[in-house]
Symmetry: C2
Subunit: 148 residues, 2 copies
């Protein structure tokens, strides 16, 4: 009997994770539309954030993929789509022709500057009386479930 309960609890946990992700995506999408970036997706912002903050504006696709947790064929399409939108540039690395060097364009940098202040308004943290620490704790809890 305990086991059956557990099964259902775990199932509901699964559903919560799937829903949370969908909900998050929709919230961010709405903010992006408000900003006039209706053709930019949450996933694209992952790439742009990485380039802007973690890679000092330049990285190859494999590196981006590893860091944002996607596989390399997903990256190919993401980079294709970001290229079309002129947010990044894709150049072959002349020193190692296997690599593409991805760089943020001016438009990409401008986007990040406009997007960032809006991100943290996705949830009204002050109304929720959530602190930085609360958020970091939750993130840590979520990450701990990944690493198990």
């Amino acid at each position: 009997m305990k086991e059956k309960e557990l099964v259902h609890s775990i199932h509901y946990y699964f559903m919560a994770v799937l829903r949370l992700r969908q909900n998050l995506k929709q919230r961010v999408q709405r903010k992006l539309i408000d900003l006039g970036y209706e053709d930019i997706t949450l996933e694209m912002t992952q790439v742009l954030y990485y380039l802007h903050f973690d890679a000092e504006g330049e990285a190859n696709q494999q590196e981006i993929a590893d860091n944002i947790g996607k596989n390399k064929s997903s990256l190919t399409s993401l980079i294709d789509n970001l290229s079309k939108r002129e947010m990044i540039k894709r150049n072959i690395n002349p020193k190692n022709r296997r690599n593409n060097i991805i760089t943020l364009t001016k438009k990409g940098k401008k986007f990040m500057e406009e997007f960032l202040p809006v991100v943290y308004k996705t949830y009204n943290t002050s109304k929720l009386s959530m602190t930085l620490k609360d958020i970091n704790n939750l993130t840590q809890t979520l990450n701990s479930f990944i690493e198990i």
Copy 2:
């Protein structure tokens, strides 16, 4: 300065949610492959679970969509794919020809019986010394972020 930290914390929270979902999907997918159901997806199990436990074996597409949190066009493809795999049957409701009545097939029921005991082994809860209560609490926390 506090605000900038918040922006990044929220960004990392986003990333954690996306990763957790990917990780979960992969874990379940592996279990499904072990069971010999390599062509069944996590999303399909959402539909099958709903039909089996919450709908007493029968529901229309809109009802399923509302309950598992997907939009109706997503449901159309899910039902198409579950039909191909003979896990469910789609029949027009003669009493209201706008509705499709979705029913679990024998194969679908058998699947659920085999799948369920395996779900809760996705995470080794005993090793993690996690109780039913811990899981339910986490689920509640996640859901609270959806409702905000």
